[in-house]
């Protein structure tokens, strides 16, 4: 199944991804896999949120993850981003980076960006400042004390403002944006981090049809350069962007493959789509 996704990424995109490897320092994707989860188990007070979950995401892939409520989608993202420690199993970023040993901040610096279900942006900062803070840079205390925006950095922020269509709102307080704009700002912040892997939890929730369509276009243009994992309930959106779909149920993968194939899977229909 992973092969399918690789073929859809162009040769140029794969080359860019390989170049990015050097820049992000230490991420080794020589075997073409950017994220590798093996037999991950997490339980909360006896409830098994993840039950021997295994998943591999290829470089440049756009993967959709679906599943009913409580299937473990958000917990899976928590494990990948260091918010929750797995009770058992392995989580590797590339060949060598062991995510289970790193803090949230270290994982973010290694090149994994995450968008939450509810847009979380810095509401009292301006849109511009939100992007500035997210921008890939030396994020230690000492350097932020003396940081000055270089003109190249200003240009990068301006480009991103253009891309997320918030140029006119650059100096507005982010809390005043519409819901859809906040979603876009958060995506923009993720991209400013120049992540290798983006985890997007319900990115089009609360967006208008037009915004949803633009988001689909954006994600499709990102695939190849970045690897994306999208968790979404909006099946139309999934159908629009999906190459490979993974279905979670009760903390484990029950089906994986192209949308059409997954949709006709008997178990999937039973637990999710048929309801």
């Amino acid at each position: 199944m992973n092969g399918v996704a690789l073929h859809t990424g162009s040769g140029l995109a794969a080359g860019e991804a390989a170049l990015g490897r050097v820049a992000s320092g230490g991420l080794d994707t020589a075997h073409g896999v950017v994220l590798y989860l093996e037999d991950i188990s997490v339980s909360f007070d006896g409830f098994k949120a993840l039950d021997r979950l295994s998943l591999a995401i290829d470089v440049g892939e756009l993967r959709c993850v679906i599943g009913p409520n409580g299937a473990g989608k958000t917990t899976m993202m928590d494990v990948i981003t260091g918010k929750t420690r797995p009770d058992a199993g392995k989580a590797f970023f590339g060949q060598t980076i062991d995510l289970a040993r790193m803090s949230e901040a270290e994982i973010a610096q290694a090149g994994i960006g995450r968008k939450f279900q509810k847009p979380t942006i810095f509401e009292r900062h301006t849109v511009f400042e939100n992007l500035e803070l997210a921008m890939k840079a030396d994020k230690r205390v000492r350097s932020t004390l003396f940081a000055r925006l270089a003109s190249a950095e200003r240009d990068r922020i301006a480009d991103m403002l253009e891309r997320i269509r918030l140029t006119d709102a650059a100096d507005r307080t982010a809390g005043l944006l519409s819901h859809g704009q906040k979603q876009w700002l958060e995506i923009g912040m993720l991209l400013m981090q120049e992540p290798r892997l983006l985890l997007l939890d319900e990115p089009v929730a609360g967006m208008s049809d037009e915004e949803t369509e633009r988001t689909a276009e954006l994600f499709l243009s990102l695939a190849g350069k970045h690897s994306l994992v999208v968790v979404e309930h909006d099946m139309q959106f999934i159908a629009r962007i999906a190459r490979t779909v993974t279905v979670l149920h009760e903390g484990a993968v029950i089906a994986e493959g192209p949308m059409g194939e997954v949709q006709n899977d008997r178990r999937v229909i039973e637990v999710y789509l048929g309801r």
């Binding site: 973010a108 810095f122 009292r124 400042e129 997210a134 890939k136 004390l145």
Partner: protein, 367 residues
Amino acid sequence: MGPISATFSRLYGPRGWLVLGAVGAALFIVIPVFALAVPPGSAFHVSQYWVTLIGKIMCYAIVALAMDLIWGYAGILSLGHGLFFALGGYAMGMHLMRQIGREGQYQADLPDFMVFLDWKELPWHWSGSDQFWWAMLLVVAVPGLLAYVFGYFAFRSRVKGVYFSIITQALTFAAMLLFFRNETGFGGNNGFTDFKRILGFPIATPETRVALFAITGAMLIGTLLLGRYLVTSRFGRVLAAIRDAEQRVMFCGYNPVHYKLAVWTASAVLCGIAGALYVPQVGIINPSEMSPANSIEIAIWVAVGGRGTLAGAAVGAGLVNGAKSFFTQAFPEYWLFFLGLLFILVTLFMPNGVVGLADRLRGARRA
């Protein structure tokens, strides 16, 4: 313009610098001249009482600025900042006790309270206290180190909000009990007093008082500018981001523990310096400075002035303490009632403090 002056000029707009210049002129020229050069009989004479009172309030204003840095900008409410202030005060007090020399009641080499306790030699932690530089080092290092160690464990364990506040309150209370004990070697409940000299100068002369006053004023302005630099830098924007959405900050690749620890420690050090300036002016330091109520009062100054405004915090310290010295003389029994009422009124009607109110009035006039 060099890079440093360029950085400085950005801190405030022209109006802000004008106000700051006026305050500086009052502190460094007008009040010293009126206190020293104008004879006591004249209507323009500034008495020692006022010099000491304003000097004392400026020390409190430094504490308020330090509090605003962590509470207003990083969202960390400390209810134990009186501890760091007192530690700086005690470090200075130890040195001033040594400066008394043989002029104490017992005319002994040891401080009076040690003679009274029948101690024969200085305890180990008093060694070096006769040296001014050592005292200055302690003023900075003791509050700084304590804050760093305490903060490291608290922030690493992700202790937040009201839990953090309660622990800080417990910390200052525990320290107060410790300092009350005679065997700790800090003069028990009497603390240190009857100072005679500072750096060889007699401590109570008008000239020394004015000098201490001016140094405190310089420190206050320096703290304001430092604070303003911190909160307008990217560091400050990260702090405010931690206050508003700590998770997002982590997922942006910043480690909030380091940021909180940095501003928390800096805040404690500033309090220590304020305490060290306070003791020679007021002439006494005792464990009551560590009482929980004192630390809570600091939070009230900042709330009254306006959280997250810096200058407002300093103004708040001035207003509340000005009112305090009026009330404790005019209606001593009612001060605590007034303080409580003030806090309730500010919380209900002025969520952004005096500064917020002023902004609102300005906005209303313009509209």
